[in-house]
């Protein structure tokens, strides 16, 4: 279980997070939406133990975290820069497996399997900077999934993908989530996506001093399907609700311009 207790963060004079409290049960997929610059990435970095919380505490399974939690994986928003340019795609993906004491051949085999699953064929021996943005993003996702994390943080992981690939990866994420019962914090700009993949959606207010303004359980069946789920009344109701909350946070009129 991941728990945040009134976590606050400033950068100099600028208040970014202002008392964020959240409890994410094991195996939940929590979607986080909020306007640009409100502190979503800062929140993920704090959970990852890369930025110390200045006030409040983050606990994982009951123990307060001071460093990086065990069995964590992160897909950074700057996915391209987070790939190590001197390693091949395959070795980048295999990197987290080093911590699991697997042999080189086994690591590479697992890396190649997961690369196939994110739809990357024949790029294992290329270097990350030779790939397109969308391909790099999938390498970063593959690297996060390969080590079967128990806590997975994803910062707009599908932002550079075309619509088709994006749908495939949303479904892959749901599959992995269901199979491994991974706890996932999933940051996105896309309201429909937040509802489609999420078990729950929280909306953050605009900064400075961002807080949780809406916390919605996603009451959709566990089995989801790009066509029928997105067409269902329950889905449309939820996305409308999240959409309204996001508009309100931005200070836009609730129904949009006439």
């Amino acid at each position: 279980m991941l728990r945040l207790d009134s976590v606050s963060r400033r950068f100099g004079e600028q208040h970014v997070l202002d008392g964020i409290s959240l409890t994410v049960p094991d195996g939940q997929l929590l979607s986080v939406v909020g306007p640009s610059g409100c502190g979503k990435s800062t929140l993920l970095r704090t959970i990852a133990g890369l930025l110390p919380a200045q006030e409040g505490t983050v606990t994982v399974d009951g123990t307060p975290v001071t460093g990086v939690p065990e069995r964590l994986a992160v897909v950074f928003q700057e996915y391209g820069r987070s790939l190590l340019p001197w390693l091949t795609v395959r070795d980048n993906v295999a990197l987290p497996l080093r911590r699991r004491g697997l042999g080189r051949a086994a690591r590479r085999a697992e890396a190649e399997t997961i690369l196939e699953r994110v739809g990357l064929h024949g790029v294992a021996r290329r270097r990350p900077r030779e790939l397109s943005g969308g391909m790099q993003q999938r390498v970063a996702i593959a690297r996060a999934l390969v080590c079967r994390p128990s806590l997975l943080l994803m910062d707009e992981p599908f932002g550079s993908l075309d619509a088709g690939t994006r749908e495939d990866l949303e479904d892959l994420l749901l599959e992995v989530h269901r199979a491994d019962e991974t706890t996932i914090v999933f940051v996105t700009h896309d309201i429909d996506e937040s509802v489609y993949v999420g078990d729950r959606v929280v909306v953050l207010s605009a900064g400075p001093g961002s807080r949780v303004v809406r916390d919605l359980p996603v009451t959709l069946p566990g089995e989801r399907d790009q066509i029928t789920t997105r067409g269902s009344t329950a889905f449309v109701t939820l996305r409308t609700e999240v959409g309204r909350a996001v508009r309100a946070v931005r200070g836009a009129p609730p129904e949009g311009p006439r």
Binding site: L50, V68, E70, L72, E78, G80, R81, W86
Partner: protein, 284 residues
């Protein structure tokens, strides 16, 4: 980016043209009697002499001695400078504590230390290797520290996020990211080391080596020609070493020439004295 072949061929052609022109001018100046022949023998005679030296056992042994000292000194310098640079670049306290000393030592001309070190260590290989190591320490050290400052913090964060500890992050993120800078430093040091090797031999004046050959040629008949032939060898060695190292860098660090995606890095807050020698990008 890889350099396109036509550009490369053109560069090579221009280089050869320049060399030929320099050769022609030297030859002409000497043959026309503008300067006395014993001051500047015709370039062709110098080159012929230099080529014939390649068949001279004693001379080649000397080259071997010089290159051995060069390699030892450069190796020693790298073995010291890279770990020291990693320490300075990652532990700010150490950097702050040693900065004054380093900034005092750095501008001292290494050649000026030859008499002192000779006095302490005698005029053998130890002196030569020590001086070479001292002089070649700096480019490698400063490039290592500079390169560490240029390491993308996100590469470190990535490794940390996947559970790697401090040392693992240093070895898996900082060191490889800095490697192109270190290599550029080694390439610069290689030339510096050659200068020091020849200079130490010249000034200490006995034993074996290219510098000794040059020193002794001064006193012989046809002295200038032999001195210049020795100089041609020194130049050629420098050119070869630089070419080999630059080629190795080009092959090993192809990744460093690709543009970094959406570079959004924090700027340094305090100005750093470290010299900048950017790897890979020094060939436009």
């Amino acid at each position: 980016m890889t350099r396109r072949d036509p550009t490369r061929r053109r560069e090579l052609l221009l280089g050869l043209l320049g060399a030929a022109a320099a050769f022609g001018i030297c030859e002409a100046v000497s043959r026309a009697g503008l300067v006395r022949r014993s001051y500047l023998p015709p370039a062709s005679e110098v080159v012929v002499r230099a080529v014939r030296l390649a068949g001279d056992r004693a001379f080649l042994d000397g080259i071997g001695v010089t290159l051995r000292a060069w390699a030892l000194g450069l190796g020693l310098a790298c073995a010291l400078a890279v770990p020291l640079g990693l320490l300075l670049g990652t532990v700010p306290v150490v950097e702050a504590a040693t900065r004054a000393v380093l900034e005092f030592l750095r501008p001292l001309p290494s050649v000026a230390l030859i008499p002192l070190v000779s006095l302490l260590l005698g005029s053998g290989t130890e002196t030569e290797v020590t001086l070479i190591a001292y002089a070649s320490l700096w480019p490698v050290l400063f490039n290592t520290v500079y390169g560490l400052g240029e390491t993308d913090p996100l590469a470190r964060d990535t490794l940390r996020a996947f559970g790697f500890g401090r040392l693992a992050v240093l070895l898996r993120a900082d060191l490889p990211a800095t490697a192109p800078f270190i290599a550029a430093g080694v390439r610069i040091s290689a030339s510096v080391a050659l200068i020091l090797a020849v200079a130490t031999e010249l000034l200490s004046g006995f034993g074996q080596g290219l510098g000794i050959f040059i020193a002794q040629a001064q006193t012989s008949t046809d002295g200038t020609r032999d001195v210049l032939a020795g100089v041609v060898w020194a130049g050629a060695l420098g050119l070869a070493v630089n070419g080999i190292l630059a080629g190795a860098e080009h092959r090993l660090f192809a990744w460093a020439r690709e543009p970094r995606p959406e570079a959004r890095r924090p700027r340094r807050t305090t100005p750093q004295p470290w010299t900048r020698t950017h790897p890979g990008r020094d060939h436009p």
